[in-house]
């Protein structure tokens, strides 16, 4: 350790470790990490990996809370490691664990396959009301029309909301807050014409009605996407759609 590092204050990180090759079950490893006031939990983990234990595994990339790679449980709460700063955490050891409700593949790395399948399942693309060619130019869309979907399009797919959602914890089949926000992102877009197709996906018990409106998904969202609002809008839409289908002329 350099002289400068020796003079630095240190913080204990308790990190959940697990290797499927050698470990029967996960257990905590403890590290004393030198830190400065501008340091994030991600930088603390990088310090561990570069200087203390090269075998620690975690995902990261952009360092600026937009790529969505470094979601983990920090002191029991789902957060991005890159924009969680040690200076803002309570004094004492910092506990770092993989995201709740997902299978652990190794250390802080969880399986993302199920989440990816869920977002793929909601027809996450424009199915246009009126198809246009590039030569026809852009669609018109006023700022007021953008408000209907824009905040839902800010989702970075970091999966923190799934780690917070008690329903997803109990029923992994539940489509969950992030995918529901994505569904609403397209259903709210004035260019799109496939609302019914998407609503049919979420009428069932693994769809919108699984949600018990706890709202923690929105509390933990680092991008203020408010997936709980997406779920609520879809409850209304789902109910409306369900009743409308019995009206005369609503041949389906």
């Amino acid at each position: 350790m350099s002289e400068a590092a020796a003079l630095m204050k240190t913080v204990e990180l308790r990190v959940l470790r697990y290797s499927p090759v050698t470990d029967e079950k996960p257990s905590f490893g403890s590290f004393q990490v030198p830190w400065t006031d501008d340091m994030s939990v991600l930088q603390a983990l990088q310090t561990i990996k570069d200087t203390l234990d090269g075998t620690l595994s975690f995902r990261w990339s952009c360092r600026m809370a937009v790529c969505g790679s470094c979601g983990m449980m920090i002191n029991g709460k789902p957060q991005l490691a890159c924009n969680t700063f040690i200076r803002n955490l309570p004094k004492g050891p910092i506990t770092v664990e993989p995201l709740n409700h997902f299978p652990i593949e190794r250390d802080l790395v969880v399986s993302v396959d199920d989440f990816v399948k869920k977002i793929e399942s909601v027809y996450p693309y424009i199915i246009p009301k009126k198809p246009k060619s590039v030569a026809d130019g852009p669609y018109l869309q006023t700022p007021a029309q953008m408000v209907a979907y824009e905040s839902f399009s800010d989702c970075i797919n970091c999966m923190l909301c799934y780690a917070a959602c008690p329903q997803f914890g109990e029923n992994p089949e539940f489509i969950g807050p992030g995918a529901m926000a994505m569904l609403q992102r397209y259903n709210g877009d004035s260019r799109d014409g496939a609302q019914k197709l998407r609503l049919d996906l979420i009428h069932g018990e693994d769809g919108v009605w699984s949600c018990t409106a706890v709202g923690v998904c929105s509390d933990v969202c680092p991008k203020h996407v408010d997936p709980a609002n997406a779920v609520n809008q879809n409850k209304t839409n789902s109910a409306l759609d369900f009743f409308l289908r019995f009206l005369p002329g609503a041949a389906r």
Partner: protein, 598 residues
């Protein structure tokens, strides 16, 4: 060793790779298109692009304006035929993204809105707040899911190309989650692996930006072009290097030295104006602004921060409402990382490495010198950026040339014989054996993390904003030493599942190749042009000797060989590159001449 047979293989699933995959799937839905990415596609570094993407759309703008800005901005090291094609294809690509759902900012009447950007004569930057790259990437990823022809290999790491009989026929990839290898054979391969900014210490780039595709092609004999031109972005967070978009200045932000003085007026960028004025002051090009910072620093007119000296980015006069609408990500970053509210406080900024202007040389159809291999995006050097890229041209490049690469790879694949034969699998097995041997070697206890830090430091020292021969030579020597020590590394983690220790070591191997090509290309260019500025007797542009592309050729266990290739000049002859008042005067003179000719 698993085997997957594809028609077209794309390595990298950021903006260029996804655009290429969609183009290929639309060109022929019956083909199998393998799309490999070492991260989930939406984690790709396109996600971090902030300001926006260029495309002429206003009535008083023209393709000729965009062409002129780009070529002059690149200090005439651009392929002019490629630039002409590029500017003509930008706007259709922006419209295509709009049709796919990209939430571009709109005017009150619902039409597309554009913002000002550095070095651009007329506003032509399409934007989605200051998360343009994020929205584009997610739009492309989500849209890509509707094409059954695209078979994604998410979180597969490319360790080598499969080259046989003078033609690329696939790639060998490793799945970190299983530790198993797959040979993906294909009749055409597109590299879309991004830049190499992480070879420098303070940089804006994500951890994944390690020059993988550049190094893979380079080791197979494809040269790397114009690598000495690394872009320093002038407004980054001291220490982390995180980016404060050029849109901060496009929207009207000011740069001030420690005395509160708008110093850019002292560096040929004035006159000072209150609101943003195109191609002057804060809307000058990135190379000139980063150079001005360096001079201010030399004069002692910057201030110290723990992450190095800095100047102020002042956006207080824009007001909270505009900041929130146009620059929400910047506001969040300043608040979360620095406890600064840009509506009430100034942000300390300094230059950091941002963009790799050089790369794998391709022709206008994105074909490389290796048969069957195409390249698009930041890993490529198709020739539009020259010695200095203009902000908002690189996002547009992803879609224009990603699209071309998809089309061209399909055409090539349909003509080419199938990639078959036991030989290809044997080659893949040999590549896999090499990286397994690296993981398991005893070594001499060298830690790759230490080598990475030493590399980044020496690159910053020798290949910074201003350069001298002794410093560049010292960097070249240091890189030679690091390459030798790299052979002696000992990887702590010998396991097979999610061994990121191992992957980082393989990436460092890629980075050292790219760093060496960069430093030696810089040392050999004895002139100053764009982002390559020297202080040791070569302070001027030298068109007689160096209006030429550098080409770094790989040599095993030796420094690369540097040669030069011609630059295609079509309609804009090399001239004085000026901004601010002088630039405006020269433009007026040109216009007068043109009028006299009519």
């Amino acid at each position: 060793m698993h085997h997957f047979a594809a028609d077209v293989l794309i390595v990298g699933a950021g903006g260029a790779g996804l655009r290429a995959a969609i183009a290929a799937a639309e060109a022929d839905p019956s083909l199998t298109i393998a799309l490999v990415s070492k991260v989930l596609p939406m984690r790709s570094h396109t996600v971090a692009a902030e300001g926006g993407s260029a495309g002429v759309i206003q009535a008083h703008d023209s393709l000729d304006n965009h062409f002129h800005d780009t070529v002059a901005g690149g200090d005439w090291l651009c392929e002019q035929d490629v630039v002409e094609f590029f500017v003509s294809r930008c706007t259709p690509e922006m419209i295509q993204l709009e049709h796919w759902g990209c939430p571009w900012n709109r005017k009150p009447d619902g039409n597309i809105n554009v913002r000002a950007f550095g070095g651009m004569k007329v506003e032509r930057t399409w934007f989605a707040a200051d998360r343009s790259g994020f929205h584009i990437l997610h739009t492309l990823f989500q849209t890509s899911t509707k094409y059954p022809a695209i078979k994604r290999f998410d979180e597969y790491f490319c360790i080598d190309l499969i080259v046989d009989g003078g033609r690329v026929q696939g790639a060998t990839v490793l799945s970190p989650s299983t530790g198993e290898f797959t040979a993906i054979t294909a009749r055409a391969v597109i590299l879309a692996t991004g830049g190499a900014g992480r070879v420098f210490r303070q940089n804006t780039n994500g951890g994944i930006v390690t020059g993988d595709g550049m190094a893979l092609a380079y080791r197979h004999g494809v040269p790397l072009r114009d690598m000495e031109f690394m872009q320093y972005h002038p407004t980054c967070m001291p220490g982390t290097g995180l980016l404060f978009t050029e849109a901060c200045r496009g929207e009207g932000g000011h740069l001030k030295n420690k005395d509160g003085y708008r110093y850019l007026q002292d560096y040929g960028l004035g006159p000072v104006s209150e609101g943003p004025r195109n191609k002057t002051m804060e809307l000058g090009p990135r190379d000139r602004l980063s150079q001005a910072f360096w001079h201010e620093s030399q004069k002692g007119r910057t201030f110290e921060t723990p992450g190095g000296d800095a100047v102020w980015l002042d956006m207080r006069h824009l007001g909270a409402a505009k900041l929130k609408e146009r620059l929400p990500l910047i506001c969040d970053m300043a608040n979360e990382f620095m406890d600064i509210d840009p509506a009430t406080g100034q942000i300390p900024v300094r230059p950091a490495v941002h963009y790799t202007m050089g790369g794998i040389p391709t022709d206008i159809r994105t074909a490389t010198s290796l048969s069957g291999l195409f390249a698009a995006g930041e890993c490529s050097s198709v020739g539009i950026h020259g010695a200095n890229r203009l902000g908002s041209n690189s996002l547009a490049e992803l879609f224009v040339f990603g699209h071309v690469a998809g089309d061209e790879a399909v055409k090539f694949a349909k003509r080419a014989p199938a990639a078959t034969g036991a030989k290809l699998i044997e080659l893949a097995k040999a590549s896999a054996a090499k990286v397994v041997a690296l993981r398991d070697q005893k070594g001499r206890g060298e830690k790759h993390a230490n080598l990475r830090k030493e590399m980044a430091l020496t690159m910053e020292k020798g290949c910074g904003i201003y350069r001298t021969a002794p410093e560049m030579q010292a960097t070249c020597d240091k890189l030679g030493e690091l390459k030798r020590r790299y052979r002696d590394i000992t990887i702590e983690d010998r396991s097979s599942v999610w061994n990121t220790d191992w992957l980082a070591a393989v990436e460092l191997g890629y980075q050292l190749e790219v760093a060496e090509a960069t430093a030696l290309s810089a040392l050999m260019r004895k002139e100053s042009r764009g982002a390559h500025q020297r202080l040791d007797g070569f302070e001027d542009r030298d068109d007689a000797k160096y209006l030429a592309h550098s080409l770094a050729h790989y040599r095993e266990n030796a420094a690369p060989e540097i040669t030069y290739g011609a630059v295609k000049i079509t309609k804009l002859k090399p001239a004085v590159r000026a901004y601010g008042a002088l630039g405006e005067a020269l433009e007026a003179e040109e216009a007068k001449k043109d009028a006299a000719h009519v």
